[in-house]
Symmetry: C2
Subunit: 318 residues, 2 copies
């Protein structure tokens, strides 16, 4: 098997002034999203001996145009902890952003499978297995996880690989996202109260969102105090994100969301709106937003981007 | 999400004299296999917040009693490169052995799925999805990959994490095992000649077997020359392994193999026996065995265990 060529980690050429990205969340997401997408373009070229079919299936889902919220959280956490003077993202921060989005995308591809949520539409396009078939979709998801860890191992300074791989692997595994997915799929033991619902979401969506913030800080070689601030920010942002997701599933149209909506209600799933009602759910999202913002007050002006992202998460309509 | 407790990496208590393991391959596989199984027992306890169901499904396949060939290759490669004076395996070698077996087992669980090979029997027991259902089997496989990288990040010396993660991730990904699986599943473009068949097997089974040998050497902080010797040994052993696998699928009974046999022929798959015939296939396996042994001549007496393993691979009847 030929060894991979290293991914060039210099600044993407079409991202001219990343240091000038303001606190406008949409612009920030679009800029960091483009940096991540460019990175994927180079990454996919770094497996010249792979069968084209698997790279096509991976590319289809990677480049389907998600919000790229997790890469933005990593890159803004990195920036907040680097003092804001770095002009371009460090290789470790970009690698972490790509690795995290690979894991997130793998989870979507597997969640959509007939044996799981059986969804036909994702990000406004047919789901991966609808286009490539079930076997290839399973393998494409598997390939994305391997690529995520490959990216970290190949592109981070040696002493950062362990901490970054550890964060991502633990947040992905049985005590993180995958564990949450198992609870969510278990129709026999649905969460019965707010405590159990929060514990599900801390694993299913919260683990990767919190790990994003921690990994950005780790890529910036932040001290334990700042990592812990970003951890708290991430946990509250994660809960706010999930509450808003539940609200949007209830109130948005499939056209807005690029995927089927009102699925929770159809499946009789316990959600924030079913437990608390729409209004109290909205207040709970606002309360978590406030707590997230509170956690990063000590970061001062450097936390501007993270504040904008947190507000975006709660105010978004998609 | 609570952080994991570290896995104790001291020597397993029921493995009294690992340094005395002779060159008897069966005994070696059984001893290193027990060390790996004990390690899994501790690993499964290190996710106290994970839902029990996912750990059960992971445990079911992890402790189903495979040959543990890959862990043995890692631990014998480690021993050959450590000068043989180390009494117990280094934490990095044991972690690499567990991580590799996790990835191998994940690949079996996903390969057996209805959308893939649709197998009911594995290692003499019902396949994972037959017991836990398709959704949980998919997630159990996913969890095992995450756990593999978690194990490496948590239990290796900082400077070894990058090289070990890189080897495992690359050998698993689109240019390695998963890429090979994609080619193997592609009924429209089966390999047409020996060259294409070898290229398929170098990815599908060879990549992990070669990576096992390399990772053992890396865990022993071997020099580039010894890594390259073990790489060559691993590549030839990988081809010999696959040829013998094809021969056994043709000639062994399901009782011997603990899984369905003659499936290649049923599916009209191109194999070594269909391309070369039984006798020439056996000679090709012997030729690769000789080349594997040749590669490790410079290791002298330290290579005794690896020589026994290579012979076992070619002479095995299961």
């Amino acid at each position: 098997m030929s060894k991979p060529t290293n991914i060039p980690t210099h600044a993407p050429t079409n991202m001219e002034k990343p240091a000038d990205i303001g606190a406008d969340a949409t612009e920030m997401l679009s800029n960091w999203g483009r940096a991540t997408t460019d990175y994927f373009g180079r990454l996919l070229k770094s497996y010249p001996t792979a069968p084209p079919k698997i790279l096509e299936a991976v590319e289809y889902s990677l480049l389907a145009g998600g919000k790229r919220l997790r890469p933005a959280l990593i890159l803004e956490s990195w920036r907040a902890c680097s003092g804001g003077d770095a002009k371009y993202p460090a290789p470790a921060a970009l690698a972490a952003a790509a690795a995290m989005e690979l894991v997130h995308t793998f989870s979507l591809v597997h969640d959509d499978l007939p044996a799981m949520d059986d969804d036909d539409l994702r990000r406004g396009r047919p789901t991966n297995h609808k286009v490539f078939g079930e076997a290839t979709a399973i393998l494409a998801g598997d390939a994305m996880v391997a690529m995520a860890f490959d990216v970290l191992a190949r592109n981070c300074p040696p002493l950062l690989v362990g901490p970054l791989v550890g964060e991502l692997a633990h947040a992905t595994g049985p005590a993180g996202m995958i564990g949450g997915q198992v609870i969510d799929m278990d129709g026999e033991h649905p969460p019965r109260n707010l405590h159990e619902l929060q514990s599900l979401h801390r694993m299913k969506t919260g683990a990767l969102l919190t790990a994003s913030c921690r990994m950005g800080a780790i890529a910036a070689e932040a001290d334990a105090e700042n990592i812990s601030r970003l951890d708290r920010y991430g946990r509250h942002l994660g809960l706010a994100f999930q509450i808003v997701d539940d609200l949007l599933d209830e109130t948005a149209t499939p056209e807005q969301m690029g995927k089927a909506t009102k699925k929770d209600a159809e499946r009789g799933k316990v959600t924030y709106p079913t437990l608390l009602g729409l209004e109290a759910s909205r207040r709970e999202a606002e309360r978590n937003l406030a707590a997230a913002l509170e956690a990063i007050v000590p970061l001062g002006a450097e936390g501007e981007g993270l504040r904008a992202l947190a507000k975006f998460v709660v105010e978004r309509r998609v």
